[in-house]
Amino acid sequence: MLAYVIKRLWQMVPTLLGVVLLVFTLFHFFGSDPSVILAGQNATPEQIAAIRQQLGLDQPAYVQFGIFLKQIVTFDWGRSWATNEQVSHLFATRLPATLTVMLPILILDTVLAVPIALGVAYVRGSLTDRTLMVATTVALSISFLVYIIVGQYVFGFQLGWFPVQGWSDSVATNLVTYAPLPVLLAVMVGVSPQTRLYRSFFLDELGHDYVRTARAKGLTEPTVLFKHVLRNAMIPILTNIGLALPGIFVGSFLIEVFFSIPGLGREVLLAVNRSDYPVIQAVTVYLAMLTMLINLATDLLYKVVDPRVVLR
């Protein structure tokens, strides 16, 4: 087990280097000159030259790449160009808001989609199944943007069930007062694709011989479904959750922008609009790291779910 983990961690190094190289190339060769962005519109050539020297932009590319690597390893990205805030501080203060919204979304999505999918897969081909499939197709074809525009208008503005937008300093208030509307809307959108996907997993399992065997030996339908089919379908489901997990750390940009939630996603978008390179680079590199670690954790979970899995 330990050997496996170490091996996997070692394998991450080239990928991570690739991510760093990609980000570096992208911003170094295609992005506009940081010194021009930083100095503003009325800068003198001397000021630009000073900034270039300060950032090491007058050095050859490999030296700059070295500086970039050092920033990553030491977790020191310096300050945001736009607000002069420490990038690490920015992470620490924006992440809680993002998680407050995204964790409930992920949990509710899964808790709702798995039973619905199992149900419709069980009655495959029936009217219920077909109606639900058409409904999810239609639900999927409407943009998320429409859901939140209309949802905010109807539930927040017209009916007044929720505050239209807002955020406070207390996690409890946020969870009870401000998060429910964005969470509700995101779940409304998220459940459709999840249900379709999980349904296909369950259908796949239901076609296997072991299901017939289980029925033949007289097991009750709930036992067949929950003890056998569900357990076997857990691997693709876990994979899917594992794939969705890194996303909750950047959050849904759309939700955060729309509901003015001071999370990481909104911050990244602001950074993109302000050409605030340190923030974007830091988020991209660390999120890539996180994604790979989560993938590893998912693979380890397979072993827990299915003892037959051999980790190689």
Binding site: V138, V146, I149, V150, R196, L197, R199
Partner: protein, 353 residues
Amino acid sequence: MSAVLIAAAPALPVPRSAGVWLTAWRRFRNDRVGLVSGVIVLAFLLLIAAAAAGWVASGWQRELAVPNAPPTLLGPRAGEDAGTMAGIESKVLPPIDLTDIDPLAPRYQEWAERASKMLTTETVKAQTLPLGADRLGRDVLAKAIKGTEVSVFVGVLAALLATVIGTVLGALSGFFGGKVGDFLEWLYNVFTAIPDILLIFAFAAVLGRGVDTVVLILGLTGWTGLYRQVRAEFIKHSGREYVRAAEAIGASQMSRMFRHILPNVSHVILVRMSLLVVGFIKSEVILSYLGLGVPIDQVSWGTMLAEAQSELILGFWWQLATAAAFMAVFVTAFSLMADAWRDALDPKLRGAE
């Protein structure tokens, strides 16, 4: 070429078995849902072609109606003509003669004469339009048609770009394996290690704004899924007998990859590409809303929805409804058509998802 001509062989009636496309077409023809959605998509494509040629909706920027004119069905808004507010009585005061203190007074006569020589046309702004007007009085229907053109154009072009990248890389990786395969797998891992939306943002941060940039961003970031599938297919096929036979008669590597294997996996690519189109159209809407997509001097479903947010609060819902309806109909039809294609081309997968 040698000058040997082979005399026309006696026509042996060889029963030609139907190819994959013909059988797929036969299956597709029997799929009523797929056929209807195919017709809808075709109608949209005709509309887009007409818009691109300038036959319809070319004047979407003209301000034809009063701001936020409601749809014809609802009738004109009450109480807004002549600038009077409903419920507030405006008293008309008698004009006061200011001639002796107004320094410009002696010239009014002259100006009035000069103005009367100019040709002025009074445009009558429509009170209602078939689907209403936006904040500036532009026709929502024309905007929606022009927006359809831009949005679908972005989706299709980006999907084409992603498909070309994914197919070429997948083919190279699957066919050659070894060092090339390892390198491309590494590239794939790098691209998938970064969450999609973040990758799009990183590209957007450096590439700027504009329709062509959106296409580029979506295409350059969206090829990974297709690459993976094409690679798997190429690995599967490159060991098959027909490919070995082609090798035996001296077909080059390029020829084997793109003339022999590619047609045999093209149905996989087609299905995957149609899914990409749907995904990219949705992405364009969200990117445009976030201000990273289509610039404001053009119109797309995304920019329409972005405008609609502030209109809705004031009760002007028609732009939102029109853009949402256009998009929903197109995307639903396109997804159902893609599903039907998949079922027709790969019957094993029927109803799987």
